[in-house]
């Protein structure tokens, strides 16, 4: 049964996942081509200077990609469920509602995390070929909140979409936007390095929020 449930999620999201993956791949290719060209044109010393003394991060085009990826995956998975209240069919499947929700959200969350890990590994490996380990580690800490924002965006889409009333969807959207905005307050490289607890706590908070929406849907709030 779980396999069939995941099959349904796969049918809904497969083309969107492919689009997200291709967009990520193309953006990474573009970023490394641009950085490589800059190194060839202006020299490694100048690039080094830009990174070390001017605190510039050379892969900032990546900033909103995880956010958009998470939002797109969440919408592709849950808009079909709330359209015509189709989620009633899903909750009527012979499984516990908690089991259904956990597997549906788990499907999206794990796939998105997997995709982000592949992108992160690509960036990390590519940077290792060009820069010193200190710069690579700093870069990893810079992109980490962006990827966490992608996961939050996914959970926020579930939180907003599953909420049964428009009256509550709007505050839910505002709360989610406010929380995600926290992760984009500073462009300074590795600015969020001391805040892993915030990122973890935010993720837990979004998970609790989405369960609230599921509960409200289940009891038929109108």
């Amino acid at each position: 049964m779980i396999k069939a449930l995941l099959y349904k999620e796969w049918i809904k999201t497969r083309w969107f996942l492919l689009a997200i993956a291709i967009a990520g791949l193309l953006l990474h290719i573009y970023m490394f081509m641009r950085v490589g060209r800059s190194i060839r044109l202006v020299g490694a010393e100048h690039i080094w200077d830009v990174i070390i003394t001017r605190n510039q991060f050379l892969f900032s085009e990546l900033k909103y990609l995880p956010l958009l990826s998470g939002a797109l995956l969440g919408l592709s998975q849950f808009i079909p469920e709330i359209t015509n209240r189709r989620i009633k069919l899903t909750f009527h499947l012979p499984l516990r509602e908690k089991t259904i929700t956990t597997w549906m959200v788990g499907f999206g969350f794990i796939l998105l995390t997997g995709l982000f890990l592949v992108q992160f590994a690509g960036l990390f490996t590519g940077m290792h070929l060009l820069f010193a380990p200190e710069i690579v580690n700093n870069g990893a800490l810079t992109v980490l909140p962006w990827y966490v924002a992608g996961l939050w965006a996914y959970l926020a889409c579930v939180f907003v979409a599953v909420e049964p009333t428009w009256r509550m969807r709007i505050p839910n959207l505002l709360i989610s936007t406010g929380l995600i905005r926290i992760l984009f307050l500073s462009d300074f490289p590795a600015a969020y390095a001391p805040m892993p607890v915030l990122m973890f706590a935010g993720t837990i908070l979004f998970v609790l929020f989405l369960w609230l929406s599921v509960f409200r849907l289940k009891v038929g709030r109108q």
Binding site: M1, N84, P94, L95, Q222
Partner: protein
Amino acid sequence: MENVIECRHLTHYYGDRCIYEDLNFAIPKGRIVGLLGKNGTGKTTTINILNGYLQPKSGECRMFGQKAGRLSPSVKQKVALLLEGHVQYSFMNIAQIEKFYASFYPLWDKVPFWELMNKLKIAPKQRISRMSCGQRSQVALGIILAQNADLLILDDFSMGLDPGYRRLFVDYLSEYAHAEDKTVFVTSHIIQDMERLIDDCMILDYGKLLLQQPVDRFLDSFKRYRMTSLLAPNWEKMPVVHPEKIRNRIEFYSDAGKQTIVQNLEEQGFETNDLQEESLTLEEAFIGLTGKY
């Protein structure tokens, strides 16, 4: 007879608006029961409460002895559900949806599903979202028949269907339910379809259940009466509903029987020579009982 569905002391409000108060009913095993009512009388609300998508203000519903909203997976397997508008997973094609549902129901029988699909001449890879409303209704019907469930709950199955598809739906469902001894609980606001399908009718009016009884017993007793008179009788003294007088033509409905009506009218000094008693279709009886407005 064992009851498949039981609702006791059900009360529900949307804000200050009362949908119904202290509603009680039971659906016995093996019966096809139609819940009839005008728009806004709480038909879909009842279906939502039964399936646990809505908590009533008070009272409770049980299906197969389990409280609605807390049904175990094994009970859910016994209940096939058709949502208003024949909603299904329209992002799937018919081969995918058959494969998907087959995994959830141990008694899944794909023969009726594919039989219906072959009648529609739909390619297995055609997406449900690209089908007409009538075709989608047949997909939804095929799924609930293939589930081989003990109880079928159908919410407003006639919505959006043209007469041909409505007839196909009713005939297929009726034959299946009687042959397989299934219990069916169905709502519709197109009453003429129901007459071919249901054994018992439940008629909801705003705030209450007006009646629950076998359709043939209802139609045997509930009649329309017509007569001519310049004066109207004192309706308060008569067991009638929705009396109407237009010029000298009087029309009313009653389940008291012609003899009682004649006696009542004669006691009030009315001539009853031209009093006509008319048998009704279910639709006419429904309008007679609930009123035109």
